[in-house]
């Protein structure tokens, strides 16, 4: 506990607060999720036994979700310094400058726990929450991305969660008119009990309109704008997001809020108008812990007090207790500080937009967070009286125990040759394991059949006419099965349900390495040729097998994705999804991932400007894969000079920048072809090589040298080649000159590789640049024809590949429950 600085606690406003009986107070505190030590801290801070309302408020403000009590120390490893940064962590969202006076606010946040209970509303309100964080800063929301994780689609429950979450995201973003431009999704058993819904939003503003949620000016009014307050979502932060799930999880459904995107759309318009007219002193949104956290954080940041009268709060239910009003998580509400003279103008604008607007309190100079209910008799009307700063910023902070999980060594060394000899009765030799299906057609057939029967792969991959192996192309069928894995296949079924074009600025549509947006004030003012690029990345399987390197790879891949469209990374936000931090093994993975990510960020000079931690992603004692999702935003100097994934022209030369090594540990290949195996050493990451490769490709794109660029990730070279062909509707003939076994050559996931194609007139220049940059590369083939022919390995018709690749996700989701 760090609640030590007692001398600084400002004096109470009232000595007449009705407190609880001491024994009862402790009992209630424990029920609300505080531990006895934290309860002692409450008593110490208050200098007496707390009231019921105070206890509720403390339990929320000191919950993991609001206080980051287990993660604060680790998060200090991140650096938020950078040339573009206007606002780092600690506000509703981080802000960077993107040139010509434009600034971009962005943040990613989880809504995992509500979505696991009720996917549609959970995901929808996740989008609503993150968008409020953005326009609170004074920025117009211009894009959303979503990083999603579910269990495998052979399970009906997982299809329900997936379909519901996608529909929920769509329903909210589409209604607001904010395009959903990108994201990622993975399916793995590890997320079966806890799906991950991480929503990222980006907003655009002129630099001078940057607004912060800092309350100031004693005498100013505290104004609640938007929806009325009900009992929905009470305890969302403490009940849902700060505990593991068990059999009783279904009963938590009432703690999930219900979204009203229409109200939010009106809030965006009225708040941006009022911010523009400088009628708000401060603005904050009501998210987790509702009015409590919004008001106390605003007071705390401004070093002022705040006095709220709950009887003034418009309520949608009768008989609400003061504590219920204070902790309700009813959606679509904003809290503003307004000068008394400006209140009439604020009221007028709100009325015009049809949005409720009520003065519920005042800013004071007492430094106290005071809650009163003027329905109670005078003199007894104060129900909570707490030091504002202690409440918001002096929550407990823990040094958590860490222990390296035993599974790490076991799985990492799974394929090592110096292990004990495989015993004779071991049916599959470990060292032979990775190549077995590639070398044994019958075994491959059996593996695929099993996947098809279980519903993990579509029956179309068994089409022996279309995908039959031949002596010249022995791996056709395996190749199709890889393309049909839902982790690899096209995500068009998802993004077709999202409006990804509204605002007329989406330059590169979803499905590419990174989305590219034009910077412009559509329909209101200036448009420019500047752009931003955005992506989200994280391979949870890597992070499970090696949290340090896995987290670094998430950052490297995000940067590589941006390099492929010619964008320079500017900053990241992160959403750190982990299990129960009170378990030393889980906390070790958290620590390692942050260490890896923060060191890589410093190496690449990329600041972390906002983020979110989601712990307790566990069900029945099983934690998810550590999943530190990275959301990266980069700058595009000229949106007419970008590259896209698809091969373009017959005769273009295909060059692999980087080189392939035998790195199948943790790969999609092992997962798909070897019975769900997740083991081995994940690919190495050489930060310097990664930096050099990104730089040379980024510059080549910016200078217009490349016809296409595509990053290699899950599924390696084979999948990347197929994607370039599918996106370009054209074939290619390729010879891979590495010395690896065929399956490794095709599906190894070695990092720091980008596949580019280049017209003949530019190829000499590109090769000179690659040589000068001292990065490995090889000329591997030529664009053209209607087949993808990888000599000696596969030869497949692009149209047939496209049919499988594009349609598989829909087939797996919409098939009837078995």
């Amino acid at each position: 506990m760090s609640a030590t600085n007692n001398a600084a606690i400002p004096a109470p406003v009232s000595d007449n607060v009705v407190t609880l009986d001491a024994d009862l107070a402790l009992e209630v505190a424990l029920q609300l999720g505080l531990n006895s030590k934290e309860y002692e801290g409450v008593v110490k801070t208050q200098g007496r036994t707390p009231s019921l309302t105070e206890l509720y408020i403390y339990s929320l403000m000191w919950s993991e979700h609001c206080s980051y009590k287990h993660s604060k120390k680790q998060l200090r490893m991140f650096s938020s310094e950078g040339e573009h940064v206007l606002q780092g962590p600690g506000e509703n969202a981080g802000v960077i400058s993107v040139g010509d006076g434009w600034a971009v606010a962005f943040k990613m946040e989880s809504h995992n726990h509500p979505s696991a209970i009720e996917p549609f509303e959970g995901a929808a309100t996740g989008v609503g929450g993150i968008i409020r964080d953005i326009f609170t800063m004074g920025a117009r929301p211009i894009a959303c991305l979503d990083s999603l994780r579910f269990g495998t689609l052979d399970k009906p429950r997982q299809r329900y969660l997936f379909e519901g979450a996608v529909a929920g995201i769509g329903s909210y973003g589409n209604c607001l008119g904010v395009p959903t431009i990108g994201g990622e999704v993975y399916f793995d058993e590890a997320y079966e009990g806890n799906c991950l819904i991480n929503a990222m939003a980006i907003g655009l503003m002129r630099e001078e309109n940057l607004t912060r949620a800092v309350g100031s000016g004693p005498g100013n009014l505290v104004v609640l704008i938007g929806s009325s307050t009900g009992r929905d979502g009470i305890g969302g932060a403490s009940v849902l997001a700060s505990q593991e799930f068990d059999e009783a999880a279904e009963n938590k459904r009432p703690a999930v809020q219900v979204g009203d995107p229409f109200e939010e759309k009106l809030l965006i318009e009225v708040c941006l108008e009022l911010l523009q007219r400088k009628l708000f002193v401060a603005l904050g949104d009501l998210g987790a812990a509702g009015l409590t956290s919004s008001a106390s954080e605003m007071a705390s940041r401004g070093g002022v007090g705040i006095d709220i009268d709950v009887s003034k709060v418009p309520q949608r239910e009768s008989g609400m207790q003061p504590f219920e009003i204070m902790v309700s998580e009813s959606q679509e509400r904003m809290l503003a500080v307004v000068k008394p003279d400006d209140f009439a103008a604020v009221e007028e604008a709100c009325k015009r937009w049809g949005v409720a607007c009520t003065a519920i309190g005042t800013i004071t100079d007492t430094g106290r967070f005071v809650v009163r209910d003027t329905n109670l008799p005078a003199g007894e009307d104060i129900v909570a009286d707490m030091p504002a700063e202690m409440l918001a910023e002096s929550a407990p902070e823990y040094d958590t125990l860490m222990q390296r999980p035993a599974y790490l060594d076991m799985l990492q060394s799974f394929f090592d040759e110096d292990q004990e000899e495989d015993s004779a009765d071991d049916p599959v030799s470990r060292t032979r394991f990775v190549s077995s299906t590639a070398e044994d057609p019958q075994l491959l057939h059996d593996v695929l059949t099993e996947h098809v029967i279980s519903g993990k792969l579509p029956s179309a991959v068994m089409d022996t006419q279309a995908f039959a192996p031949t002596p010249e192309a022995p791996l056709n069928q395996m190749f199709m099965a890889m393309l049909a894995s839902p982790n690899i296949a096209s995500k068009a079924w998802i993004y077709r349900q999202y409006d990804h074009q509204v605002m007329n600025n989406t330059v590169v549509l979803p499905g590419a390495d990174a989305a590219v947006l034009r910077i412009g004030d559509t329909g209101r003012g200036e448009m420019s040729n500047r752009g931003i690029a955005a992506t989200t990345d994280c391979n949870g399987r890597y992070c499970y097998l090696d949290p340090y390197t896995g987290a670094q790879i998430a950052l490297a891949e995000a940067g590589r994705n941006l390099a492929c469209v010619g964008a320079t990374p500017a900053a990241i936000t992160d959403c750190l999804n982990f299990g129960n931090p009170e378990k030393p093994e889980v906390f070790y993975t958290f620590h390692e991932a942050i260490k890896g990510l923060s060191e890589a960020c410093k190496f690449f000079n990329i600041p972390v400007i906002s983020g979110n931690v989601s712990f307790y992603n566990e069900s029945f004692g099983n934690a998810i894969y550590p999943t530190p999702a990275v959301g990266m935003v980069g700058l595009v100097d000229d949106i007419t000079k970008i590259a896209t994934t698809g091969f373009k022209n017959e005769g273009d030369t295909i060059i692999l920048v980087g080189e392939t090594e035998d790195e199948l540990g943790g790969s999609e290949y092992l997962k798909v072809m070897h019975g769900g195996l997740v083991a081995g050493r994940i690919p190495k990451l050489d930060l310097e090589l990664e930096r050099d490769i990104q730089a040379v490709v980024r510059d080549a794109v910016k200078d217009g040298l490349l016809a296409s660029a595509h990053d290699l990730s899950e599924g390696g070279m084979g999948v990347a080649l197929a994607e370039c062909c599918i996106a370009g509707c054209i074939g290619a003939t390729v010879a891979l000159d590495d010395d690896l076994a065929a399956h490794s050559s095709l599906f190894s996931e070695t990092q720091s590789r980008i596949l580019v194609s280049v017209a003949e007139k530019n190829s000499a220049e590109l090769i000179t640049r690659l040589t000068d940059a001292n990065v490995p590369y090889s000329v591997i083939g030529e664009v053209g024809g209607s087949n993808l022919n990888i000599e000696g390995k596969i030869n497949l018709d692009v149209e047939k590949m496209t049919n499988i690749y594009n349609n598989i996700l829909e087939q797996l989701v919409t098939r009837k429950s078995a």
């Binding site: 329903s171 589409n174 995107p261 509204v502 600025n505 330059v507 329909g523």
Partner: protein, 235 residues
């Protein structure tokens, strides 16, 4: 090209009005926002009801917006033979206001659809479009309720009166026997006009393919905001 002054109506929950204004200004027109409580449209050469989710579309799409004060003015304006276009939600509002026949039902696949879609120009008396019959245009659609429906008599009379303006089709302009509409629309209908041809409703979003830098790599939508200028000038 003739410069026109467009009024773009903003209902609470409209979300494509800015895109339309951008597209119109990009094409050299003048465009102003018209708040849904305004009722004076005299100054405008044409009125646009843009896409979005008016009033959240929580009730039937467009069913609340049609009662906004501006809609009475839009009806009067349309009845004078002056040009009105309704895009997506605007189309839904026009059918709710009975300025166009039929209704837009939920997509047959029960999912929201956002994608560029081929559609062909039919022979019609629509004043908003002046392209040869059979021209294939690529325009994004973006809706959950775009499944056009009307009774058989209405369909017949619309056909006879040249009111069917756009039909979804295959890439080569042909139509599949079992329908080419991604949303299940009757007779593949993507856009219709009234008998006089001055009121036009369509589900696709031409404003999204007007400024090629906007990323959809097309300018097929520009035609929808240029032909009308010639009509207005001639009228």
């Amino acid at each position: 090209m003739t410069n026109m002054r467009f009024g773009v109506v903003v209902f609470p929950g409209s979300n494509c009005e800015q895109d339309v204004v951008h597209a119109l200004r990009y094409l050299g027109h003048t465009a102003d926002y018209v708040w849904h409580q305004d009722t004076n449209l005299a100054a405008f050469d044409a009125i646009v009801l843009p896409g979005g989710f008016s009033y959240g579309d929580y009730l039937r799409c467009g069913a609340v917006a049609r009662f906004s004060p501006v809609m009475e003015a839009v009806s009067a304006y349309a009845n004078e033979g002056r040009p009105v276009i309704g895009i997506c939600n605007g189309f839904q509002i026009l059918t709710e206001a009975h300025l166009l026949p039929g209704a837009l039902l939920r997509n047959s696949g029960l999912k929201f659809i956002c994608k560029e879609t081929p559609m062909r120009v039919e022979k019609s008396n629509c004043k908003w479009l002046d392209l040869p019959e059979g021209t294939v245009l690529h325009i994004p659609i973006n809706h959950n309720e775009g499944n056009y429906f009307c009774d058989p008599e209405t369909l017949k009379s619309m056909e006879a009166n040249g009111q069917i303006v756009l039909r979804y089709c295959n890439e080569d302009g042909s139509r599949s026997v079992d329908g080419s509409a991604p949303n299940g629309a009757m007779d593949d209908i993507a856009g219709i006009c009234n008998e006089r041809g001055n009121v036009f409703g369509l589900m696709p979003h031409p404003e999204r393919v007007t400024d090629s830098l906007g990323g959809n790599n097309g300018t097929d939508g520009a035609a929808f905001f240029t032909a009308i200028a010639a009509y207005v000038k001639g009228a």
